[in-house]
Amino acid sequence: MRDGNGLDPDVANNAEEAKESADLGTELAERARAGDTEAFGELIERHRGRAKGWAERMTGDPHLADDIVQDALIRAFMHIGSLQEANRFLPWLHRIVRNQANMRLRRGGPHRREKPFASFEARERDGGSVDWDNLDSILDHLTSSAGQAAMKEDDPAEHLMRKEMYETIHSVLHCLTKKERAIFEAYFFKQLSPDEIAAMYGMTTGSIYTYIHRSRQKLRQEQIRVSLGLLPEKGGAVLARHKMLELAEWPAHASVPTTMVDRLGHMLATMGDSRDMAELMGLSGFAFRMQISEKTTFADGIYMFDWRETLISFARDLGYEAALVCGQLSDFPVPLLGAVEKFPVVLPIEEAVLPFIRQTIDSGRPVLYFDTSAARPFVHEWSLIFGYDDERRVVHLTDVMCPEGKTLSYEDVADNPIRFLAALTRQADRDQTAFLPGPRDTRRRRLAEKSVRFAVSFAKNRSAYRPMTSYLSYATGLAAYDTWIGHLRRGPGSPPNRYGMGHLAHAYSRTKSCAAAYLRTVPFEGEAMRFALLASEAYEQAAEALRELEELVPFIKTAELMQADLCERCAGLLEQARTFEASAIGYLEKTITYLEKGTSQ
């Protein structure tokens, strides 16, 4: 594929094709700038070869060029939000590659000792091997060599080195607040101990350490900005902004148990596009999904699907384009590995997420956010970020257990081991012709038919999402009941997980009710509709059996072990639910048969 952005006329065979490619490149850059990681990935695929060419020409070394491109792409990814004009992506990338190449060449090429970008913890205590591109290395050198400085006053090399060191630091110090800067300078330049600084400012030694730590983090980020040739960010307090959206009313009865769909419904309502929630559950297929871990009654099966693909395609069905930011942190244990195993590995850097949050909130739209610190008994759930405050350094977000919402610090958001944020843009806003190919009723019917087909297919285990991680597997659809029942009947030596049991019963009893409610509203006619209604009734009965199950094992945080008689009662209710759901699927197969007959007639 050729490059876009109109910067490469020599490879464009005709003007029209070149313009089309340039437009696509600009659109990708725009989406990437808004934080869409998928778009960034596509952009990189388009330009990786060219970036390598630049680096290779500068260094004459293909392996070094690979490394340079790698570092340049990491920097580009972290700072894409700062790109001023989307149609200038290529020159911007070129500048980053050039800077990276220059840094590498200064360092002495491939045989010089290498340090991975992420190894911020690394320390350079040897004054002779300070790494001038690494702020930590400089700071460590500064603290360790100050004592020896007097002895080397006459050494011209040392003098030059120190000059460069101070210039580097001073070029980035402006990002600190007044107090942070004062403490930082006292520690690094005046060589005062944290105890002495604490006494000076009437603070605790612990808080001085916190200040120093935070300052180092801010300086690191600022140093990267400077290395990119970006405009310096003024001190946080000067540009500090905050904005809070008013979310639409969202009473409990409007809520559905699948929190991703629920938050999307809430998000759309806030954006002035209220939807029927049972319909959203049906159209998204979540009304018909049930997955149970093959390990035990852990509740992780609820979350096992392709998050990116599901969200993008569901948003499109609803007439929206989804922009995503996703990743997994490497240094933290990641929950729900099966769902996030192929997310890119990312660094815990605020700049990678906050521009996306600010930009989306500023445009009046909430951000869908996967919260791994949900209040108990929930463990991790989707939520909506509906506000941010730069001064307090917090975002405001929803939580099922906190009706008034809660806050998370910017650090918490950056440190979330699963990074998954999404924003929706109405497609019609972008391209009036791209959506709604037919009349609304026809389209509704087509989507309903799609979801009924999905229900049958899923129940028969043909649409299951399978993680690549081999030790994680999940039973799907009707087979999930058998697995669930199997866990309950493994015997007293190996009881099922009680906490997960409560969560599964809570989620799936409501899911089946949504299936029943949705099927009452599908726009079918005649026999097809009659069977859809019969299926609805059967789903209602399945839901009833699962509600009884939930009464036996309420959704609470508990470590208790389930006794054999309770396991057996639960298994009996699951058998009932399975029978009803199998009937429902039988009716839906008949519905499809009649829909097909209708089409063929």
Binding site: P116, E341, M468
Partner: protein, 379 residues
């Protein structure tokens, strides 16, 4: 021992029977002591519990990632030292991998490693001699080619080598060729994953799929059945061996070491989880007493196990050293080395991203050297 009479243990394992047995026998030996057991669904939940104000005394995890995190667990080496004879009894290979920076943050549990198991019947039928210790990769490929059978449509009815697609499972061949994915301190893959021994080992592996066609490619149609059916040589972990022993099939399967690679190193990987004592536990002595009982003193735990005991005495008392299959696995523990996933969390997190690239090399013929050189970004 302190006066504490209760212990809280969190485990990530789904089957609790072994742990419940240990709890029952320990509580019987120590009247008044009560052990409560809580399950965690994953490492993240264990990690969160360890950081909370109500941290469990003991955490048992199926992996090693939380044990690599500084400050969460107490160092067990002083306890090992003070337990007479234990230090000498612990398997040195396992300890080499489990001890990091001079500390032992958990007692290894759920230990497994891979060897080659071969199905005698398929060799006998083809008139081919059984593989011998010290065999080479080329000899293995020749054997596997002779034992791969395809029907008229080209669909395999029998594969010479049963092997999956996973960066971790390929790692023993990389190690044996003298390569490593990441540096010993885990800080970089540069200068390691991108080096010739790694690339060469991968070329040989990829050829086994694409040129020799002795391993089932991802998505390839097959009539060879399950692993225990139409596969002559099997890259078998302890859990496969456990099934062989449990069903009394020792006479049907032989076991032999992994083949020699050109690099000539005798090395293997090892999988293990661990059980460790929280740094916040006020009941360390009691917790150590229970850990010792649970992990080290119960040969009955290995009667129908899929895992390997970590002490010599336990290997003997559980009958592993007398069993022809298990005996070879115990021997192999001497040569195990730390894998990339133990050393680098970043590498570990990238597992499935790397696997996707391996599949591209197998199915689409993506350039091996170029692909692997790009893996420096994962380490």
């Amino acid at each position: 021992m302190s006066n504490a009479k209760s212990l809280k243990m969190m485990t990530e394992f789904q089957h609790l029977d072994n742990l419940l047995d240990a709890k029952a026998s320990f509580e019987k030996m120590h009247p008044g002591v009560v052990i409560t057991i809580e399950q965690a669904a994953d490492h993240a939940e264990s990690h969160r519990a360890l950081q909370s104000d109500e941290a469990p005394d003991i955490v048992e995890s199926g992996g090693w990632s939380i044990f690599n995190r500084k400050g969460l667990f107490v160092d067990l080496l002083p306890h090992v030292e003070e337990t007479p004879g234990l230090k000498e009894d612990l398997n040195p290979g396992v300890m080499r991998v489990a001890s990091k920076d001079g500390a032992l943050t958990g007692l290894p549990v759920d230990v497994a490693l891979p060897l080659i198991l071969y199905k005698r019947e398929l060799f006998d039928k083809a008139g081919i001699p059984y593989p011998q210790e010290g065999w080479t990769w080329e000899e293995m490929m020749e054997t596997a080619k002779k034992l791969t059978q395809r029907n008229e449509q080209g669909v395999a009815t029998q594969f010479g080598f049963g092997f999956g697609v996973d960066v971790e499972e390929i790692e023993p061949f990389v190690m044996r060729n003298g390569g490593r994915y990441v540096s010993p301190d885990g800080t970089t893959a540069r200068g390691y994953a991108d080096q010739l021994p790694v690339i060469e080992a991968y070329r040989m592996l990829i050829d086994a799929y694409r040129v020799h066609r002795v391993i089932r490619r991802p998505g390839e149609p097959s009539e060879a059945g399950e692993l225990h059916e139409g596969f002559a040589l099997i890259f078998g972990f302890a859990w496969f061996a456990g099934a062989v022993v449990r069903y009394g099939l020792e006479d049907k399967y032989g076991v032999v070491g992994l083949p020699r690679m050109p690099g000539g190193e005798n090395a293997n990987m090892i999988y293990m989880g661990a059980a460790g004592i929280s740094a916040k536990s006020p009941n360390r002595e009691l917790a150590w007493a229970f850990l010792r009982h649970y992990v080290l003193e119960r040969p009955e735990a290995f009667r129908h196990a899929n895992t390997l005991p970590i002490t010599k005495s336990l290997a003997e008392r559980s009958g592993y050293t007398d069993n022809p299959v298990w005996r070879r696995f115990i021997e192999e523990m001497d040569v195990v080395q730390p894998s990339g996933f133990y050393l680098s969390e970043r590498w570990n997190s990238s597992r499935q991203l790397i696997n996707e690239e391996i599949i591209r090399m197998i199915n689409e013929g993506a350039d091996v050297a170029q692909t692997i050189r790009g893996w420096t970004r994962f380490g």
